[in-house]
């Protein structure tokens, strides 16, 4: 199955524990795209079948499939 983009929330934040949790998540199959230690988030791609596995990792408090936000066309008659 094709990998999907995910957002992983790591708690609590803190550079040392953050990197060790990130390593465990990567060992479980996450291909990291961005590592954000200040807010405690890692984004990347993973097989949908392995999402439930990384949810169980100690130090991971949430895993979500990445969503999209979009503006409408920039016109006066369309609320922005």
């Amino acid at each position: 199955m094709k990998d999907v983009p995910v957002t992983v929330l790591i708690t609590p934040p803190g550079r040392e524990s953050f990197s060790s949790v990130q390593q465990r998540v990567e060992a479980a199959g996450l291909q990291t795209e961005r590592s954000m230690p200040t807010i405690g988030v890692v984004t990347g791609t993973i097989s949908p079948a392995r999402i439930s596995e990384i949810r169980k990792i100690d130090g991971v408090s949430a895993v979500e499939q990445e969503g999209v936000m979009a503006h409408p066309p920039l016109r006066e008659g369309i609320p922005q």
């Binding site: 983009p5 957002t7 929330l9 708690t11 934040p13 795209e33 961005r34 954000m36 200040t38 807010i39 405690g40 988030v41 984004t43 408090s61 949430a62 979500e64 990445e66 969503g67 999209v68 936000m69 979009a70 503006h71 409408p72 066309p73 920039l74 016109r75 006066e76 369309i78 609320p79 922005q80």
Partner: protein
């Protein structure tokens, strides 16, 4: 006092789908292709179901939408797709797009009896008994009208920003949006920093939304032949491009912008972006935790409540993501009469889905990429940078006003409006003078 009988008026109940009416002459393949541009990729047509019982519900369980090409109408699924009514409305092929509502057969006789009872109660006890009179009087008193003039935009007058001696100097505002038009003469001498959170994409603003928001938050005091439109003209804006030139961005790009803004020691993050929420939705756990961590780092996130309401149809949509996070300040939009904007989302969901504050968001003049230079736009996107700019003024006034204290100061300083708190929260944001 006689008991006032309230008539039963059934409110519109949205189905979560969008009804799309195409312009006359639009071909079937053009309809499907245009819907694909806003993210509805799998579109079924009536022709595909010629020999089967046609059920929109069944189709939407499998596809993103269904096109009724003979009548030029489509129904597309909003739930889970992130497709907004306003994005669909902006398509060249589309004449109109509105939320789809459940339709009920009215019990006209029951409604007529209820209205009659209320009318009799009014006659017996006068308008005061109905509770209508005090409301009307308050609205009349507060019906201040603001307008742009040579000095400033109406938004700077209504928020008192034009009367403030503060400028935001020394305070960093992060604007997470489509970037900054670096060649724009209103910003050319400011030395503003622009960063792109999108790999391989320039920080320059092509779409225009980001430049408009930056102009409102921190545009210059004077522009040749144009009113002032910047709330905090000496604030240091850092533009983080988290949405591409097509106006679309991912959670990962937006979260990367928040991370970098905290690292860059921005006191305020202005996010005029979001996606629709449904009635009963809870806040997103990741955005809420990230917002709490931002506050812990003396950084306040301010976000647009959303524009999915159609109040002229009696429909109020709930505050969208991520503004529905308890630790993100949700901003509604008001017009120059200080009435709620017809599109502005309402605080229908609890646990963070409330509106916290309101700001000018109708006919807002600000900067857009050259050669147009300025443009009037409406939306909670335009209201949000008014609040961000005023947050910078407060932060300049006192070094103790950061994070949660800055949130409290914005709320405490708001001007109460004679409108439901569900629509405007604490009221109209006000600049310190």
């Amino acid at each position: 006092m006689a008991e006032t009988v309230q008539p039963y008026i059934p409110g519109p109940i949205p189905t979560g789908n969008i009804l799309v009416v195409f312009k006359p002459g639009t071909k079937h393949n053009e309809m499907a292709k245009s819907l694909g541009r806003v993210g509805s990729k799998r579109i079924a047509s009536r022709a595909e179901f010629a020999n089967a019982m046609f059920s929109v519900e069944a189709i939407l369980a499998e596809a993103d939408g269904a096109v009724f090409d003979r009548i030029g109408v489509a129904v597309i699924r909003q739930e889970g797709s992130g497709v907004g009514v306003n994005a669909v409305r902006g398509l060249d092929e589309v004449a109109e797009a509105i939320p789809e509502f459940l339709v009920f057969a009215y019990d006209w006789e029951a409604r007529r009896r209820a209205w009659l009872r209320e009318g009799l109660a009014l006659l017996a006890d006068g308008p005061a008994a109905s509770g209508l009179l005090p409301l009307l009087t308050e609205q009349a008193v507060a019906a201040a009208s603001f307008a742009d003039d040579g000095e400033s935009t109406w938004g700077l007058k209504a928020t008192r920003a034009v009367h403030s001696g503060l400028t935001g100097k020394g305070i960093r505002i992060a604007v997470l949006d489509t970037g900054l038009a670096h060649e724009h003469p209103d910003f050319a001498c400011r030395g503003m920093i622009a960063k792109s959170m999108i790999t391989g994409v320039s920080a320059n603003d092509v779409q225009g939304h980001g430049t408009h928001c930056i102009g409102t938050a921190a545009g210059p005091t004077a522009t040749i032949g144009r009113p002032r439109f910047g709330v905090a003209p000496e604030a240091e804006v850092i533009s983080y491009k988290v949405l591409g030139d097509d106006g679309r961005g991912t959670d990962g790009q937006i979260l990367a912008g928040i991370e970098q803004a905290i690292v860059d020691r921005c006191s305020v993050i202005s996010m005029s972006l979001g996606r629709p929420a449904r009635l009963g939705d809870r806040p997103n756990a990741i955005y809420e935790t990230v917002a709490q961590r931002a506050l812990d780092n003396d950084c306040l996130i301010i976000a647009a409540a959303g524009n999915e309401s159609q109040r002229e149809l009696g429909y109020v949509a709930p505050v969208g993501y991520p503004a529905n996070s308890p630790s993100i300040m949700a901003v509604a939009a008001v017009d120059p009469l200080l009435q709620i904007a017809s599109f502005s989302c309402g605080g229908l969901n609890s646990g963070g889905g409330e509106v916290n504050i309101a700001a000018p968001g109708v006919h807002i003049l600000s900067a857009v990429p050259m050669p147009q230079r300025t443009k009037r736009l409406s939306g909670t996107s335009m209201a949000t940078p008014h609040v961000a700019g005023i947050a910078a003024l407060l932060a300049q006034k006192s070094k103790t006003l950061r994070g949660r204290k800055l949130w409290d100061a914005l709320i405490a300083g708001a001007r109460p409006l004679p409108l439901p708190a569900q629509d405007v929260g604490a009221g109209l944001v006000q600049a310190p003078v």
